[in-house]
Each structure stands twice: as C-alpha cells, then as structure tokens.
C-alpha cells in the first residue's frame, strides 16, 4: 500500500468519490484550477472537469447557501472553507438551513453536504489562520463533526462524510497535512511516510463515523484527544513514562461514548486535551459526559489541557499551543488526583 500524506489521502478520497458518484461536486475558494491553497484538490479539476470541481466567489455563506440547494436537488456538494477561521460567515446557512432542513421539512428534504476546513495552529498563522472552532458546531443539533488525525482515517472518514446524507463538518488539522506532529516544533519535521497510519489504500474504503480508536492502550489514565493532539498526547505519555490509554475520538458528533466509558471505567482517571479555547470547548462536554457515566469509577478530577482562552497569538504560538509538557503535566495531575 502506498504511503500518503494527509493531503494526498484527502485528495484521494475526493478523487474516489468523484469517480464513484456523479452527484459529487467540489467547490470553494481556489480549489479549481489551482487545486487549493493547501493543494488538497490538486489535479481534480483537470481530471474531472470544471463543472465538478470549481472556484467560487469569496463568500463562505454563499457556498453553503448554494450547497443546500444542490443537496435538495440530489447532488452531494463538498465545500472547502479555506480556513476554519473563515467559517463564521457560513454559520447561518450551516445552522439555520443545512442542519435543520430534514427536521423542519418532516424528512422531505435534507442536506447531504460535507464542509471541509483546515483547522488548528502550528504554522504561525496568527489568530485568523489557527482557530479550532469545532465546539460551535457540536452544539448544533443536526450537524455531524469529524476531525481525523492521520492519512488513513482522513481518507476513510472523508469518504463516509461525503456518503452521509446529513451535513458533516470535517475539520483537517493543517499542522498534520505533511507529517505527524508531536508538539515539538524545535525538532525536525517528520514525514508521514514513516507512520503506519500513512499506508492508505488507493481505492474506495470507509472509516465509519461515530467510532473512536484506542491508539495506545494503558491502565493508568485515559486521554481523550482528536486531531493534532493525538500525536501530542502520545509524545506526552512516552516522555512522562505514564501508562496512559489514548483514545482518538475521530468523530466528535455522534460521539463514541462506549469506547470512552469503557476506558475511563478501566483507568479511573481522565485527561482531555484540545487545541481550542477551554471555556465551552468540546472538552467541557467530554468532562460532563465522563462524570455522568463514570462518576463512581473516577479517582481524581477530570483534567482539561487546552488552548488558553485568548486568540491564537502569532509570535507566542508555542506558548499558546498545549504541547507535550502541558499534557504530561495534566497526566501527572490526573494521577496525583
């Protein structure tokens, strides 16, 4: 099996779906001739034609607006938002239209739309190219939210998202596009090729939505993470020499509660880590659920390690980013209790 970067795996998923389903159309800013500022749609217009892969005006809300209409007709639009930070103009169409259409029409119409957006920091993008906004969408009934952490999942989950008949917001940790990132910017960048999850089948395959993956077994503490933080958590556990069980959520909504509960009941301790700001971040929901389901198994408070409740500062990126040291510290606090 070929080794793919996350960019190549996403491109391959789009390629596969364009070939399988004539209803799939892909559009967004600079995704056509150019192939996207992160190259995820590279070559797709050349191969499948400009009617299927095309540039749009700079109007995220407009993209979602027309996507809802296309979905009502019977197409499967895949929309690229150039950066998750720029999804806000699309929130009204995403929430008021896409997420509510099936319900309000009594099931007559629905919105089989996938919204892709690069998220997270690590590239010195400053406060408007680094945001993690997943918690806004996980609060919205009618939306599914997915965040992959490696090429294999990225392709399999994106295929599932496109095939899903409900709207899916698909966030791509941009710091992982070209290699896994353990949260040590000072170390040389590692390519995906070395990584086992970079072996990705050329053809069609799906990773089902709603299923987490235990990426590291352990008995001492459960770590709930997704996206870039999966790699950071692995590094933190190694560096701290802590027998942590690390769960890659992959899909935030619908959430794989059983995998989470099984693990926490086993370890009795839980650390939640995400890059997004803390207050009302997805970690809040995870903490609430864990204590609801595992209260009598918990031996220590659930610890949240997150981005600070500030914008993502350009020059202070690594003071903001919840790196291995901070996660390891969280692990220790969870163990001490």
């Amino acid at each position: 099996m070929p080794a793919m970067t996350m960019v190549q795996a996403l491109n391959s998923a789009l390629e596969v779906m364009l070939a399988r389903d004539p209803g799939v159309v892909i559009f967004g800013e600079d995704v056509g001739f150019y192939g996207g500022v992160f190259r995820v749609t590279e070559g797709l217009q050349q191969k499948h034609g400009q009617e299927r892969v095309f540039d749009t005006p700079i109007a995220e809300g407009g993209m979602l607006g027309v996507a809802v209409g296309m979905g009502a007709y019977g197409l499967r639009p895949v929309v690229e938002i150039q950066f998750a930070d720029y999804i806000y103009p699309a929130t009204d169409q995403l929430i008021s239209a896409a997420a509510r259409l099936r319900y309000r029409s009594g099931g007559e119409f629905w919105a089989p739309i996938t919204v892709r957006a690069p998220c997270g920091g690590g590239i010195f993008g400053g406060q408007t190219h680094s945001q993690s906004v997943e918690a806004i969408f996980t609060h919205v009934c009618g939306l599914k939210t997915v965040i992959p952490s490696n090429p294999y999942d990225a392709k399999g989950l994106l295929i599932s998202a496109i095939e899903d008949d409900d709207p899916v917001v698909f966030f791509e940790p941009k710091r992982l596009y070209h290699g896994p990132f353990d949260g040590h910017p000072e170390r040389p960048a590692v390519p995906w090729s070395a990584h086992k999850q970079a072996e990705v089948p050329e053809g069609y395959f799906a990773v089902p939505l709603g299923r987490a993956a235990v990426v590291r077994e352990g008995a001492a503490v459960t770590v709930l993470v997704y996206g870039t933080m999966v790699h950071v958590a692995l590094a933190a556990a190694e560096e701290a020499g802590i027998d942590a069980e690390i769960v890659d959520l992959r899909t935030l909504l619908p959430l794989d509660i059983d995998t989470i509960v099984d693990s926490v009941k086993k370890t009795g301790r839980c650390v939640i880590a995400h890059e997004a700001t803390r207050t009302c971040g997805f970690g809040a929901e995870l903490a609430a659920l864990v204590q609801e389901h595992c209260f009598y198994h918990l031996e220590a408070p659930i610890v949240r390690v997150t981005g600070w409740d500030t914008p993502y500062p350009h020059a202070l990126e690594w003071d903001y980013f919840p790196g291995p040291a901070r996660v390891a510290d969280g692990l220790r606090r969870a163990l001490e209790g």
Binding site: T56, G62, G65, G69, A72, A97, L101, G106, C141, D164
Partner: protein, 422 residues
C-alpha cells in the same frame, strides 16, 4: 524633497458645514393621511418587451420603469400582455380569491385560538398565483412565507395546508413548524424557513444543479424587499451571475417590513430591481397587482432561464394590505387607509374588472364565487379540525420529536427519548 507626506492642507474651514446623520423619517404616521407621492404613476403598456435572448444590459432601463398590462379601465395593453384565454384567467381569478378566502379564515382561526400564528398575503395574490400559472408545475419554488397562493395555484389541497397550520395529527410536518411554514416536495415547493433570505441562494444552487445535470427545470425564488439587506440576497445574485444559473429571483416589494418602510431597506431614490444591474443580471420591474403583467414578466424570465440566457431578477411592486402577521398591529405605525389608497389597486378587483370587460365575467358571478369559496374553505376547515387543532390536539406524539434530526437517530437522541420516558 525628502518627505513622503502630502503638504499640510489648510485646516478644514470652520465655516465648512458639519456632517449630519440622515435617518429616513417614518411617515406618514398613523392618523396622518396616506402619502404615496413617492410612487410615480406609470402608464400601462408603456414598456417594450425585448427578445428573451437580449444581453442583460438591455434590460437595465426596466429597473426604473414599471411593466403594467391592465390599464385603469381593465383593458389589457402593450407588449407584455401574455394573451391568456378567458378560461385560464377565470382559473387565475378563482385561485386568487381562494387564497384570500383561505387567508381570511385562517386569520380568524388564530383569533379564536385554534392556531398559534398566521400570515396573510392579502393584496399580493397576483404574485403567487400569477407566477404559478406562468411557470411549469415542476419548476422548483423557493418561496418565503407570503406565497401561499403559489401552493394553492399548483392545486395543493387546502386540507393539507390547514393541517399544517393546526399542527394536528395530519400535519405533514409533524407539528414541528410554525403555521404557514409549509413544505411540499410533491408540489416542487421547498421547505419554508423562519430565517429571512436563506431560500434565495438555495434556489441558485438548485438551478446550478439542474444545469449541471442537463435538466430542463428551472428554480424560482421570492424574497421580501426588507430581506434584500440580508447576505443571502447578495450571495444569490453573485452566484447566479457567475454561473449563469437558470433561476428567476423575485423581490416582493410590498412597501413594508413589519413596521419599517421600504426606505429603511434602501429603496429610497432607487429600486430593488436595480440591485441586479451591478451584477450584470437581467431585471424587470412589474406591477405586482396586475395578474397579466406578473404572468407576462414571469413567462419571459422563465423562458430566458430555460434557454440558458441566465438569471433574471424581478421586482414585484405591490402593497402589504394585511398586517405583517397575527402578532402585528399596523395601526401603531401606518395610516389605516393606506391599503385602499394604494395607487395600483387590488389584484382581484383588477382581474375581475378585466374579465367583465371582456364579457367573460359578471359582478354577480364574482359575488357568488366569493361566497362559494368562503363556504368551501369553511367546510375544509371543519374537516381539518376533525384531525385536531393546535388548541385541542391531537398532535404528533412527543417521541416523534427526536426523529429527522438525523437520518438515523444517534445514541444520544435515543437516550434522551428514553429519558423522556418513551
């Protein structure tokens, strides 16, 4: 010269006028006399009808005129006369009258507490009905809440519409939606939203999809003049222009947005039809109370779209004779007599006068039909009430509340349903 700045200008002359903020005045107020001096009296038959293939630019002068067919004597004049046979005209008249009868009845039902809310389109019936008549039945409609006439003119049963308003056991929307927010896929009538404007880009996207598939069906949407200020209006026009989408985009300018006059929406010194100009879209401006003009203009725009000449924006110039909704009290913000003094009359009276003039109709038949329709509506309402009213129920069972959030119900909704004891 080693400086990069402009030389000091003299300080702004202290005598120079100070800036002043302009707020559009709210007038006339209740109690004052209606004032339609801002509405020019355009003659019927004055605007020429170009070929459907003309460049958009050729239609731009129409943005500042008004396409009218029925003149003050009820004569049909000019290029835009669609020359419809009397039988079709009578059907159109009947559909408009049925719409009005339906509105009157449901408005009263709300006053009697049988439904929670209602919105009439009184005075605007020529729009929904006239456009339904000019479009193909399977052209996809993306309306807002004031086009019930469209659904009625597509022959959709009042009974079904009423059950939605009653939120009863036969409500196809399962009691989920506010009354009048219909959704009827079989009638190519898209789910109505509470959020203003969002349907406009939906229509453009649907039209793009139809073109992508090499279909022959076009999309049509409606938006209120007040709602044109929303982003979705701008998005719809931009995308329709860039991708030459086969869509007809209607702005229903009924002068009011709840209590805000069309000036507040940016109608002062310009027209809503002219918003199309900057995007390079075709535009028409039409007397919305003139069944024949509405029909003719819609037919032109639909044919243009179907022939791959792209989108047309139509401003339908009319007046909201009804209160905004059952929650509204227009006597707080406008003169009571405004509706009667609207310069372009009432669409039902005008079509009726035209038919009478053609010798195809009579005042007697008019009165008789009105009472027939009132009875028909009353009967249908009685039948609908047998399936329940909002007040008395029965409604859909509570457990259906958790359905259709997603195609398949995820665990957390199943668990919440159990938590509710279902």
């Amino acid at each position: 010269m080693d400086t990069v700045t402009a030389p000091e200008q003299p300080a702004p002359d202290a005598a120079a006028p100070r800036l002043k903020l302009h707020i559009p005045p709210h007038h006339p107020a209740p109690g004052e006399a209606p004032d339609f001096s801002y509405v020019p009296r355009f003659p019927a038959g004055a605007v020429e009808r170009p070929d459907i293939g003309v460049p958009a630019r050729a239609t731009h002068p129409f943005a500042y005129q008004l396409i009218r067919v029925l003149d003050d004597d009820g004569e049909a004049v000019g290029d835009w006369n669609p020359h419809i046979d009397p039988e079709t005209l009578r059907r159109g008249l009947r559909a408009m009258m049925l719409t009005r009868a339906y509105d009157d009845r449901m408005f009263r039902q709300q006053r009697q507490g049988k439904i929670t809310f209602y919105m009439k389109c009184t005075g605007e019936e020529a729009i929904g009905v006239g456009q339904a008549f000019a479009l193909a039945p399977d052209d996809m409609a993306f309306p807002y809440y004031r086009q019930q006439g469209l659904l009625i003119a597509r022959g959709w049963p009042l009974l079904d519409m009423m059950c939605q308003c009653y939120s009863n056991a036969c409500d196809r929307l399962k009691g989920r939606q506010l009354p009048v927010l219909y959704s009827v896929r079989e009638a190519s009538f898209f789910s109505l939203a509470g959020n203003l404007g969002c349907q406009f880009p939906h229509a453009v996207g649907w039209a793009m999809a139809s073109a992508y598939k090499g279909d022959r069906r076009i999309a049509v949407s409606w938006i209120g003049e007040g709602s044109t200020a929303e982003p979705d209006f701008h998005h719809a026009l931009t995308f329709a222009a860039v991708y030459r989408a086969p869509v007809v985009l209607n702005v229903v300018n009924n002068q009011w947005a709840i209590s805000s006059h069309q000036e507040i929406a940016g109608g002062d010194g310009t027209t809503f039809a002219s918003r199309a100009i900057g995007y390079g879209l075709a535009c028409l401006r039409v007397d919305g109370n003139d069944f024949l003009a509405v029909y003719g203009a819609t037919q032109w725009a639909a044919a243009r779209a179907r022939a791959n000449h792209g989108a047309t924006m139509i401003e339908l110039f009319t007046y909201r004779a009804a209160p905004h909704s059952t929650s509204d009290d227009p006597s707080r913000y406008r003169p009571a007599e405004e509706a009667q003094s609207w310069p372009y009359g009432d669409p039902i009276e005008r079509l009726s006068r035209h038919l009478i003039r053609l010798g195809e109709w009579s005042p007697e038949r008019q009165t008789q039909l009105a009472s027939e329709l009132a009875d028909e509506v009353r009967e249908t309402a009685r039948e609908a009430e047998r399936y329940g009213t909002m007040e008395t129920g029965p409604h859909f069972s509570a457990k259906t509340m958790f359905e259709d959030v997603f195609k398949e119900m995820p665990w957390h909704l199943r668990r919440q349903r159990q938590e509710m004891g279902m």
